[in-house]
Each structure stands twice: as C-alpha cells, then as structure tokens.
C-alpha cells in the first residue's frame, strides 16, 4: 500500500508482522536503531538529518508501545479499527508448483539464518 513514512504503523515501521513475538520486536528495534542512528551510512545521500530524527523518534515510540503488553493490546485494537489484519499470502512458485511457504524456512528465522551465515560471532 502506498504510504508516507509518517503514516506507517508501528509494525510496518519496525518491519515486523503484527503477530511478532517480543524477541522479534527487540531484534527489529535494534535493526531500526542501527539504520536511523546519528551518522548512519544507510541513509547517506537519501534522507536528511531532520527526517532521520523524526523517524528515530517514531521508532522509539513504536518500541515503547509494543514492548508493553497492555499498551500493545490497546494499540492493536485501535489499529484493527482502521485497518483489519490480513496475514500475508505466500506467493505461488511456478517452477515447483508449490506455495513459497512450503519450501520456506520457519517464519521469522530468515534474518537469524543470514546472521548465522555472514556474522562471525552472532
């Protein structure tokens, strides 16, 4: 869906599913901090300092809300009123005639797998 970054909900902002566990949220928060920290290379040439500051504030806000079960429940209810949750569909892979999910590693482990492969001491 076409959205301005200010309009992304907390889950979209942290790039996690609405069903994400506390561990997944923590990991996504750390990744977001690395992306939007002061002097981040990832924003070089694309995002201004003012924009970076605004997004970082929202990232903090998102984490403070989603880490607290009561606040998260309240936020989820408010979110559901605006946009019902539809779980992502698995793309169909023509070559093998299967849904992608049938061959995919378990949900939420992709980054853990990449980290295992490419980081010396994960």
């Amino acid at each position: 869906m076409l959205k301005r970054i200010e309009d992304w909900n907390y889950y979209e902002l942290l790039s996690v599913e609405r069903t994400a566990s506390q561990d997944e949220i923590w990991e996504a928060y750390q990744a977001a901090l690395a992306t939007y920290r002061d002097g981040s290379l990832a924003l070089y040439g694309l995002v201004t300092e003012a924009e970076r500051g605004l997004v970082l504030e929202r990232v903090q806000e998102a984490f403070q809300t989603l880490r607290d079960p009561d606040k998260r429940k309240e936020y989820d209810l408010a979110l559901l009123r605006h946009s019902p949750y539809v779980p992502p569909k698995a793309p169909f892979r023509k070559s093998v005639g299967k849904l992608e999910i049938e061959d995919a590693p378990a949900k939420g482990t992709r980054w853990a797998r990449l980290k295992r492969l490419f980081v010396k001491n994960p």
Binding site: L2, I5, G45, V119, K120
Partner: protein
C-alpha cells in the same frame, strides 16, 4: 538470467559475477558469463583468460551472426564466457535495435544459467540489461560513496521502469512531471504517486504496480565487521520505505586480501581460496539467489521480449 550491477566502480561486481559463475559451474551446471560492461570490460582477466576474438563486439558488428557463436570455452569445466569487446567506442553507445537484438539472443542462449556482468553507472543500456534480468543484483560496499551511488542507481532504475511503462501506455506527459518531482527529496517518489493517484487513479495504480514489480537483490561486498553486514539490511529497509521497492538483502561477502593477490596472479580467487570466508559467502549467496528467483522482477514493456 542474472545481472550483477551497481552504481559505483570498484565494488566488486565482476568479482561477484565471476565467483557465482565458477560456483554454479562447480555444481555441474552449464553457465555462460557475459561481460556486458560495455565501457570497460575485464571479466576475462578475473578468470585469468586473455582477450581474444570472438567477443561481444563481433556479434554487435555482425562479424558473427549469432550470439551463440561468440561464446567461448574457459579452462573451467561447465563455464563458458562471452568476452567484452575491445572496440569500446562503438559498443558503449549501442543503439536501441542492437540492444534489443542482444537481449533477445541472450535469452535464447543454450545454457542453464546466464550471468551478466554490467558496467558502472546508469546509462539506459546498463539499466535495461539490469531490468531484463531476473534477478538484478546490486553490489555495494560499506562506504558512503558506494551507498550514495547505490541509491542513485536504484532511483535511475525506478525512473527507467516508470518511463518504459509510460511510453508503452502512451502517457508521455507524465514523464516530465515525474522528472520534475522525483529529484526533489527522499519522499518525492511518494509525493509523485500520491498526486498521480489523486489526478488519475488508474494510471497511478498501474505505475505503482509496475514499480512494485521491480525487486532487485543486494549484496554487501568487502565487509569487515558485523556493522558492515548489518548495513546491507538497513539499506534494503531504507529502499523499501523511501524508494517504495521490495529490495531483498542476500548477504555479505567479507573483505579478503587474497582477492587482490589472485587478480595479480591472473587466477580466479574463488578457485584459489575455496575455503576462505569470502568463497563460503559466495556459495551461500548463490543458494539465496536460487531461493529468491521466483519473486523478483516483472520485466517492463519494450525490453519485455516475446520469448521472455
């Protein structure tokens, strides 16, 4: 057909292309590497092969009638190559007809894998080769200049995709509007689509879908620590949020001094240092690529060929 490209020179595009080719060939696959760096071809040197004819230029100048005849064997089993042309001045400025002819024949090559090694920069030819591959792989390094040029390259690809669709649907007046708006700031792409959706929802939706069909992959090369590895994930996330594209981070290749030594010795690094961390990373990237291949690019019109 895979294409390895990127905005900045020296990031290791040819190294990644050659290593992927050697790895696939070692798995008993039939691979053709194509040196499509029209301005400065040197893929053959990375493989320790001398420049010779026939090459890509011979096909483009009709010295050989079919691209298949420009394919030459390498000393490595399963791996063949189409060398870049020495006739750079002529080749670097390919016209539209020659480009389409080359793209068509690339798709008709009798092989299991074609890997294109593209040149630096954002010329229309380079972008079109990148966009007609599936997937297009961007190689970046953890340096500000490389990151800046990666975003520039992605923006150029985005504008090229949108322009090809605008031309196809004869909505050329939108092109100038796009050029005026997109260059402004990080959220200008969102602004362009927002105003387009408001003025013409049908065109807006069609172009937005076209943009979402552009799904490049990213490799971070020459990483030295965990922070560099994580940078790739951040870049893909930023591209998703600000450039509205679904970019997939494949992983990182660690920096290795052996690459330079192998190059000086005119020997392929991947074969000389098979147990190095960089070679292991190449093998993992290859697996990631095989897994990604189903959900990458929807080829834009004009460069979408009948047999695509």
């Amino acid at each position: 057909m895979w294409a390895v490209g990127g905005g900045k020179g020296g990031t290791g595009k040819s190294f990644v292309a050659a290593s992927l080719g050697l790895h696939l060939a070692s798995l008993d696959r039939d691979v053709v590497l194509v040196d499509a760096d029209l301005g400065a071809p040197n893929l053959h040197t990375l493989l320790g092969i001398k420049a010779s004819h026939p090459d890509l230029g011979d096909f483009l100048t009709n010295a050989v009638p079919a691209l298949e005849e420009a394919v030459v064997e390498t000393p490595y089993r399963g791996l063949r190559i189409i060398k870049g042309s020495e006739n750079i001045l002529f080749i670097a400025n390919l016209n539209h007809y020659r480009k389409l002819r080359l793209l068509r024949q690339l798709r008709q090559l009798q092989t299991q894998n074609v890997i294109l090694d593209l040149g630096t920069g954002s010329s229309f030819n380079t972008l079109d080769f990148f966009l007609s591959a599936n997937p297009g792989i961007v190689v970046a390094t953890p340096e500000p200049t490389a990151i800046e040029n990666t975003y520039l390259f992605l923006k150029s690809c985005i504008m090229r995709v949108l322009k090809l669709y605008m031309d196809h649907y004869k909505i050329r007046d939108l092109h100038q509007k796009m050029l005026d708006q997109i260059e402004r700031n990080s959220q200008s792409l969102y602004g362009f689509f927002k105003s387009l959706m408001e003025s013409d929802r049908a065109y807006g939706t069609m172009l937005y879908r076209a943009l979402r069909g552009f799904r490049p992959c990213l490799i971070m090369n020459k990483t030295r620590d965990e922070r560099d590895v994580l940078l790739g994930r951040s870049v893909a996330d930023v591209a998703r949020k600000y450039l509205l594209i679904d970019m997939k981070y494949l992983g990182a290749v660690p920096y290795d001094e052996g690459v330079r030594a192998s190059l000086r010795g005119l020997k392929p690094f991947y074969l000389e240092h098979k147990d190095s961390a960089a070679a292991r990373a190449i093998r993992q990237l290859s697996e990631e690529l095989a897994y990604s291949i189903e959900f990458t690019l929807r080829t834009p019109p004009e460069i979408r060929l009948p047999d695509a």
